[in-house]
Amino acid sequence: MKNQYNILIAGVGGQGNLVCGCVLAEAALQQGLTPTTGETFGASRRGGTVLTHLRLDADDLGPLIPREQLDLLLGLEPLESLRAAVDLATSRTTAIISMTKIETPESIAGKVKYPEITEIKRSLRAICGKVYSLDPGRIFAETGTRRALNAYMLGAMVTSGVTSLTEEHILRAIQTTLKEWDLNRVAFEAGKKDFRSLVDL
């Protein structure tokens, strides 16, 4: 079997999870790979958990990543990242996670408590091989929107160098797949910068 690389994007309905998977798959295709993505949507779209499975060079392997085969967990939300990690991540897994939380309907209503971010981080560290926690709060504030989270996370991912996808191909895929190129370009650069400052620390 070829050298397989498996990415799971975890988030909440409305975060643009599926389109993030499309960008990565498109970049992989342009690099001559044969990606496959598996998407969970439908009823789960209404504010529920959304997962996108991406296998960078799958040929005709199934769309779902088997247990113990997860290489990169790209987390758009901390709680959903932990949920995904519990199911699929191992020491083989690198996690790159946005730590901006989205409360659940019940935690908003004060019926349950959203877990402490420090606890989520600790747990992720215990499960995954490597964890990079990002705070997109600054870019959200600067751009006045959360819509560019995907581009921000992709900027961080490229800088991490964990995948074989090149910056050039990802940027081109962002340009062809996402709207609002100027906004996404800014967010992408912010993601790169924030990731670099993480590693420098």
């Binding site: 295709l29 598996g38 005709d60 199934g62 769309p63 709680l79 949920r83 877990p115 499960i127």
Partner: protein, 627 residues
């Protein structure tokens, strides 16, 4: 969808099926939206701007199939797509037209099953319709195959004059991979005179049945000679796996991960009728045969029937859903196939590290659920809230029968709905309950259905209720769109596609002349409580048309709520922990809990300022802010 021949593009299984339809020269498509099938007709609808293809969202799957078959009778190649449960609706027609035959145009019937019921109320295996109706059925495994199989299915339908079923499942329909395109058919479609000269009916069903049986035998022989099914793997002739659909891909990976490349795998595309001679060749003299398919043992049972003709010493040990090696319920994945292979090959399970298990256990304890809920400001919540209040006022209580749509979430909302079954079953069951007073039923009967469901399957139930004078109240939650599946227009939608006409729900209901009819606004909760209360107390068939709003649709159309005044909680009036009616019972997403103040608060960026929650607070603490 529009890329040129020879190019390699990423496509979902559903988009690939749609592209396959264009390449095959399909000129007519009718469908009813339903996950996971919706994107097939949606993609073709987009393409209809550039290609000579007619596409419609029919009122239901039966009408869609009837329309497609009619097109084929007139010589126009047609494709009809639907979800698993949709085929139940269309089945009445399907089990006639299989006998009378389709036309020269040909009909491809695409059914998308939903193993595990991710977006469905069951996980039915629709392949049994192929057996019941004696129809050929093809199961593609990859997006490429999903595209290519449409031409094959259409040719088969045109040759044998019967519908040909193509079956997908959620993980094929909703996965994307690389597809190499062929040329889109350029020939234009023109109707033939055939229909006028050849009546399609079933005068002698038994003779037609005989004829169909012979067609099916001939098709099985064609499948034997074809290259549609393939055998891959190594030299090990002891063990064979027969896999179909997306499960074939899980099987391939399971074999790779367990490092047993020597076993052989059949990728079976022609699940019905089985290529009998090939099957005998595949299984004869093997030690073990494993079946990997979703959901029921369909191929397994077919092969077991063929195996009965083998000599005893040639029969292998069969494993699959019948002996429990593969689970008989739920969705498969690579891990379940690995477990099945370990079981039949005697490979020990991997031992999990104690410390890892403990880490996972601790993490799981932290995971609070993220449940599905109504959107902020969703008017369905208001209706259920009002029903809850009416329930309290009526000493006999209410029975609420529900239906299929976003409002099905009422099952989870303060248990507002007592039953939820199939499309249109709410009014049908209510019509029955409405006769049970004579046997002692005390509760008042209420049923709810949305606008798209109203057109899909509620009309016969409504007429029945009127005709038999059933004692019940019917709430039509009309938000003017098919929200659950992605905002497809239905006959009641105010903004229609070019050439389509609005059909008024109000006019239909008035024509039926219920004992009592009212139209109310779903944002005004107080008025809704009074109106529903009054209606349930009247005898006979009562209908209330509830003008509702889909907030997602509003958002999609770019509507903002800036012009309305903000909604705020007056913390001096809020009773805090002692009350919590707004946060715990009404539960709009935009009403939060302020931990520091121990009071409710409105979450600005979620609130759509509809004000529906204002009368919900018994202490008048929720109010519109001064402008």
């Amino acid at each position: 969808m529009e890329s040129s021949s020879g190019s390699k593009v990423l496509m979902s299984g559903n988009e690939a099926i749609a592209r396959g339809a264009l390449e095959a020269g399909i000129c007519f498509c009718a469908s009813y939206p339903g996950t996971p099938s919706t994107e097939i007709a949606a993609a073709l609808m987009k393409s209809s701007q550039n290609h000579d293809i007619y596409v419609e969202w029919s009122v239901n799957e039966k009408v869609a199939l009837e329309a497609c078959v009619a097109a084929s009778w007139a010589g126009i190649p047609a494709l009809c797509s639907m979800k698993s449960l949709g085929l139940n609706v269309a089945a009445d027609f399907l089990l006639n037209v299989n006998l009378s035959g389709t036309g020269a145009g040909g009909v491809v019937l695409v059914v998308c099953d939903d193993p595990r019921g991710h977006s469905s109320s069951n996980e039915q295996d629709s392949r049994f319709y192929a057996k019941a109706a004696y129809l050929p059925l093809l199961e593609p495994s990859t997006c490429q195959q999903a595209k290519d199989v449409i031409s094959i299915a259409l040719a088969l339908s045109q040759k044998h004059r019967i519908p040909v079923i193509v079956r997908s499942t959620t993980r094929l329909s909703h996965s994307r991979s690389v597809v190499k395109l062929r040329e889109i058919a350029s020939a234009t479609c023109t109707t033939s005179e055939e229909l006028a000269n050849a009546p399609y009916n079933v005068p002698n069903p038994h003779l037609k049945h005989q004829e169909l049986g012979m067609k099916l035998k001939e098709i099985a022989q064609d499948f034997e000679k074809s290259k549609l099914n393939s055998v891959s793997g190594g030299e090990n002739t002891d063990t064979l796996i027969i896999a179909s659909g997306v499960a074939f891909r899980y099987t391939k990976e399971a074999v790779d991960l367990l490092n047993i490349p020597s076993v052989q795998i059949v990728n079976l595309l022609t699940s019905h009728p089985l290529p009998q001679k090939d099957v005998v060749d595949w299984i004869k003299n093997r030690q073990k045969v494993l079946f990997v398919e979703e959901v029921d043992p369909f191929i397994e049972d077919g092969v077991l029937a063929i195996a009965a003709e083998l000599h005893l010493d040639e029969i292998p040990t069969f494993s699959g859903k019948r002996n429990g090696v593969v689970p008989f319920f739920g969705e498969l994945d690579t891990n379940t196939v690995m477990d099945a292979l370990r079981s039949i090959q005697g490979i020990p399970q991997k031992h999990q590290d104690e410390q890892d298990l403990n880490t996972l256990k601790l993490a799981r304890q932290m995971l609070i659920p993220r449940r599905l809920t109504f959107c902020a400001g969703c008017t369905h919540r208001n209706v259920y809230w009002a029903l809850g209040r009416v329930k309290r006022r009526i000493k006999e209580g209410l029975i609420v029968t529900g239906d299929i749509g976003c409002y099905s979430l009422g099952v989870f909302y303060n248990e507002a709905m007592n039953t939820m079954q199939a499309m249109g079953s709410g009014i049908g069951t209510a019509s029955g309950l409405g006769q049970l007073e004579r046997f002692g039923l005390k509760q008042k009967v209420v049923t709810v259905a949305g606008d798209s469901t109203f057109f899909h399957a509620c009309l016969p139930g409504l007429v029945n209720a009127k005709h038999k004078n059933a004692n019940m109240t019917f709430l039509i939650l009309d938000n003017s769109t098919t929200a659950m599946t992605g905002f497809q227009p239905n006959p009641g939608t105010s903004k229609q596609r070019l050439g389509n006409t609005v059909v008024s729900i109000e006019s239909i209901v008035r024509a039926i002349e219920p004992s009592h009819f009212e139209i109310i606004n779903a944002v005004d909760i107080d008025a809704m409580i009074e109106t529903i209360h009054k209606a349930v107390e009247i005898d006979g068939l009562k209908v209330i048309l509830v003008n509702s709003v889909c907030r997602l649709e509003e958002q999609r159309l770019g509507k903002t709520h800036e012009e309305f005044s903000r909604v705020v909680v007056d913390i001096n009036l809020c009773k805090g922990e002692n009350c919590r009616i707004c946060t715990d019972q009404f539960s709009c997403l935009a009403i939060g809990w302020n931990e520091n103040l121990k009071k409710a608060e409105v979450i600005e960026n979620l609130c759509i300022r509809c004000g529906a929650c204002i009368p919900v607070c018994p202490h008048d603490a929720i109010k519109g802010a001064e402008p």
